[in-house]
């Protein structure tokens, strides 16, 4: 479980997060919504212990983030960046192996056991056949899955994903979200940011909406993402309707008006 209590953060005299209270239990998928520049990334950086809050606390499994060593923390919480822009064409397997570094001694190198673990993670995500390919030469969706595999081998149960589908086409975005959802079913706590309220409605258990550094909505996606909240959040008119697809009902957003 990860929670924040009265989390505040400012860059210099410019406050970004104001008294943010957040809580995610085990096995939930939380989407973080908010307009550009609202501090979603700053929020994530605080959760990951990269930034020290100006005041307030970030608590992971009962212990303040600052009390973990970097190595211990990496076994609690993992980070999946928005995109991966490699300079060198490491193989997919090597990239995933990097996630195991903190479990190795300083002068140790990954061996057969580590390789098997990395391959198993790739297998879980359905991209084991890419193991020997260069990470520069696979598609954006495949690369996102590779980054998720790299996070999985860290053995952290909390995954932070910064706009996991931002650079993906429609089909790949769907496939990646399906895998993320499957991980949630496997007991992972996943917190991801998105600019797409449809994605929040479709996939997440909870929505956490930030505006002007404060929380304006926090609760189950279906009930909390109302037309009023969306208007407040993005400053445009949005209609939320229910549609039928493949025998199930989904709620979808349609922006309109001027």
């Amino acid at each position: 479980m990860i929670e924040t209590a009265g989390l505040c953060f400012s860059y210099g005299s410019n406050p970004v997060l104001k008294d943010v209270n957040f809580r995610a239990e085990e096995g939930v998928l939380v989407s973080v919504l908010g307009p550009n520049g609202v501090g979603k990334t700053t929020f994530f950086r605080c959760l990951l212990g990269f930034l020290k809050p100006s005041s307030g606390r970030v608590i992971i499994n009962g212990k303040d983030v600052s009390e973990y060593s970097k190595r211990q923390l990496s076994m609690q919480i993992a980070y999946i960046p928005q995109s991966y822009n490699p300079v060198f064409n490491h193989t997919v397997l090597d990239c995933v192996l990097m996630g195991l570094t903190s479990s190795l001694g300083l002068f140790e190198q990954p061996g057969r056991a580590e390789e098997e673990k990395a391959l198993a993670a790739l297998e879980d995500l359905g991209i084991a056949d890419l193991a020997r390919r260069g990470s520069m030469k696979i598609s954006g969706g495949e690369r996102q899955l590779m980054l998720i595999a790299r996070a999985l081998v860290q053995d952290a149960r909390i995954l932070i994903m910064d706009e996991p589908t931002a650079n993906l086409d429609y089909g790949n975005a769907y496939r990646v979200m399906k895998k993320i959802s499957a991980l949630r079913d496997g007991g992972y706590t996943i917190i991801f940011s998105s600019h797409n309220p449809d994605q929040a409605l479709r996939w997440s258990d909870r929505v956490f909406a930030l505006k002007d550094g404060g929380v304006i909505a926090d609760g189950p996606a279906d009930s909390i993402l109302s037309e009023t909240v969306l208007r407040n959040l993005y400053g445009i008119e949005v209609a939320v309707n229910t549609v039928n697809a493949g025998g199930s009902e989904y709620r979808v957003c349609t922006p309109f008006g001027g």
């Binding site: 990269f50 211990q72 919480i77 960046p81 991966y84 020997r132 520069m136």
Partner: protein
Amino acid sequence: MKEKTAYGFKIIILSVCCLAVFFLSFFLGRYDLDFLTVVRILADRLVRLVSFGKLGLMQTWTSAQQAVVVNIRLPRILAAVLIGAALSVAGASYQGMFRNPMVSPDLLGASTGAGFGAALAILLGFSYTGITLSSFVFGLSAVLLAYLVSKASRIQTTLAMVLAGVMVSSLFSAGTGFVKLVADTDSQLPAITYWLMGSLSSVKAKDLTFAVIPILLGLVPIIMLRWRINLLTVSEAEARSMGIETGKLRLVVIICATLMTSAAISISGMIGWVGLAVPHFCRLIFGQDYRRLVPSSAIMGALFLLLTDNVARTVASSEIPLGILTAFIGAPVFMYLIITGGSSRDD
């Protein structure tokens, strides 16, 4: 695993080539030597080294032959091996650390600093050892200065380091320019110019003993930490979330690479291209993983500099400076790599 045996096979072939060129190099030069004599002299040296001088082979060679092999060719060949390996490993490490394949090991000013140190020492009439020492010390100081400036800066670390390196390099090359201006044009200026072009022709056994310690001090930690250099090629945030202290690792890599580069340059003069080009040859053959890249760069670098130095001392009647040759050989090969997109090759 199949891929692993392929790697083992390739590295053995590379090592055999390197050893072959190593022995071949003893026979090149104006003084002719036959195979058995060289083998006997070397075996004798080895036996004496292992037995602390108590044992040795019966001398069937002349003392002139021994002098050529032991005092002239052996130090020079060993220097080529050591310097080639050091510059290539330092280059590979820097390229990973700065996330930039176009970086060479003197990015932070090691070679311009060393060049200034040597030029100054020549101007002040220092002995040969004095020139080596001064060049080593100034090489280290240049990098230290660049590092301190980048630490004091508020810009993002790697960018600040690159900028500080550029600044320090131009400062020291201006210093070298000034020294050349005031140097005596008959004796000092040619010596400075020749030093700056790089050569192994005057390497003595004592230079080697001086350089071997800093080079090994740099080489061994990098070889041991080589897996972790991979982590420096991903973004700071990613490495951190994986539990890696990139700051400390980066500092260790800088210290090791600088020790190696400064020590190498202080006895060879400026040799460009090796540290930039050799890691790319290796990427082409061995892939991107630093577990393989570091050892293969060391061997490939040794081989490359041995070959270049052999050309330098045999092709023309007078020695061709190494710095010129490495560029002549390195640049076309590198152009080929850029055109064929070598480093982004897919496996």
